[in-house]
């Protein structure tokens, strides 16, 4: 796959169809993959990579590096393409200046799972035919791929690309998944247990803003948390409104727009399951207003800027949330 992608990227660069390519590149470690901008065939030959570690969602990177006067090729995994569709719907990226190639994703590996298994001093990781070989300073170990696949991929919502100019490899389908199971588990707890759970999780937050920076739905020109006039700033002070409410506000801000790509949880250095906040909103929206998948189609009307006269009343929450 990777070679096909490289070849096609170079072809498009050479033909002048595009002048820039957005893809992934490998850093010091096999598993340390970051989004990257390539502007020449040489750069592509040298750095371009597409493998089971290419987790980062390129749509946010594309937004940050967009240029209007020239065309950019972007490779999109299915979940990236949902985010991209949402960005197009919100007029945040210029569709005209993009050439989108959809590529399949067979599940990305979560290095944290390997580390959590006690592996240290990792020198290299290779993923081959459903096995993942880990080579460390202290010896080697092989995992079955599903053991180290990230949670978001195990609960993949779709292997289909809602938008593309060109597809490479097999196009998948919208998937059946159990992604709301964790949410349901929390919902089944008592309010006290839930409060304790979230206090435990959110107390670990160091306000590094990684979640916000990675989130493809967080593309505000100026984030309200950075805006002294929003009434929720005051970053420095401790115990302020913004500090405490950051994640709730962020989740509400992306409610109805979050495509559930899982970047927030992936990048969180404190391993806070932030996606469980977003999924709560997604689950509620599906339940109350009919199934809605953000980024499924360009021009969709988000559930929070929409209504029907027969919508459920807010007291549905007090009645246990059953529609």
């Amino acid at each position: 796959m990777q070679e096909m992608m490289k070849a096609r990227a170079k072809e498009l660069l050479a033909s002048g169809e595009v002048t820039r390519v957005i893809g992934w590149k490998k850093n010091e470690f096999d598993y340390d993959i970051t989004p990257a901008l390539f502007e020449s065939a040489e750069e592509i030959d040298h750095d371009f990579v597409y493998d089971d570690f290419c987790g980062p969602n390129l749509s946010k990177f594309t937004f940050q590096h967009q240029k209007n006067d020239t065309k950019t090729l972007v490779f999109l995994k299915p979940c990236d393409s949902y985010s991209m569709t949402q960005l197009i719907t919100e007029h945040r990226v210029n569709r005209e200046a993009l050439y989108l190639i959809g590529v399949p994703s067979y599940g990305k590996i979560d290095v944290e799972k390997i580390k959590a298994d006690g592996m240290t001093g990792i020198l290299s990781i290779k993923s081959e035919d459903g096995d993942v070989h880990v080579h460390t300073l202290y010896g080697d170990k092989t995992y079955a791929k599903y053991e180290v696949t990230s949670e978001r991929c195990l609960n993949c919502k779709s292997k289909k690309h809602p938008i593309y100019d060109e597809l490479m490899g097999f196009e998948g389908e919208v998937m059946e998944n159990e992604r709301f199971d964790e949410v349901a588990k929390l919902e089944a707890m008592t309010p006290e247990e839930r409060f304790e759970f979230w206090r435990g999780e959110l107390s670990r937050c160091i306000r590094c803003n990684a979640c916000r920076n990675a989130c493809p739905a967080c593309t505000c020109e100026t984030c309200i948390f950075d805006n002294p006039n929003s009434g929720v700033d005051q970053k420095a002070a401790k115990d302020t409104f913004e500090e405490n409410m950051f994640h709730i506000i962020r989740a509400f801000h992306v409610a109805g727009r979050c495509t559930d790509c899982g970047e927030c949880s992936r990048v969180c250095p404190q391993h806070i399951p932030l996606h469980l906040l977003n999924r709560k909103f997604i689950g509620d929206i599906n339940k109350f207003y009919g199934t809605y998948q953000a980024g499924e189609e360009v021009g969709q009307r988000a559930p929070l800027t929409n209504f029907t006269k027969e919508d459920v009343e807010p007291d549905i929450v007090a009645k246990g949330g059953k529609v």
Binding site: L186, S203, I248, L277, K280, I285, F288, Y289, N306, P314
Partner: protein, 144 residues
């Protein structure tokens, strides 16, 4: 603090056209409800940003209630429909975070429903008083 001494802090957002007028009518008719309820006038229920409600909880409110025109009767035609969706989702999230769902409420009160306004407020204050002091949302960030 024993139960009967507990005085909850309750913030009530009322839309200017229906519910605020309903509250005025309750006053004109001398219908009593607890002084714990403090009203903030907004043009429409759709003006109420979830941030305001979160802020109230963070600042120590024990209950927040939003009152607007009945669905279909909004002065601005559709405002309360949007408010209804926003609040449904917000309340569900607050409940998910462990803030008891009884601490948040939306009621549709028309300008003619002074009696309903008083009844709703009495009931809401009673419910919140029974729940007792709210967990401060700011605790969410404090180490256990």
């Amino acid at each position: 603090m024993s139960m009967n001494e507990f005085k909850p802090k309750i913030v009530a957002f009322c839309c200017n056209w229906c519910s605020y007028a309903g509250a005025d009518l309750a006053g004109t008719n001398r219908l009593n409800y607890p002084a714990d309820v403090k009203i903030i006038r907004v043009p429409c229920s759709c003006r109420v940003n979830p941030l305001f409600i979160l802020r109230a909880f963070q600042r120590g409110a024990d209950g927040v209630i939003l009152c607007g025109c009945h669905p279909g009767d909004c002065h601005y035609t559709t405002g309360n429909y949007y408010a209804r969706r926003r609040m449904t989702l917000l309340f569900s999230m607050l409940d998910y975070l462990g803030i008891e769902k009884e601490r948040t409420r939306v009621e549709w009160v028309s300008a003619a429903e002074g009696a309903k306004f008083a009844t709703v407020m009495n009931d809401f204050v009673k419910t919140v008083t029974e729940l007792g002091e709210n967990k401060r949302l700011e605790d969410l960030r404090c180490k256990k």
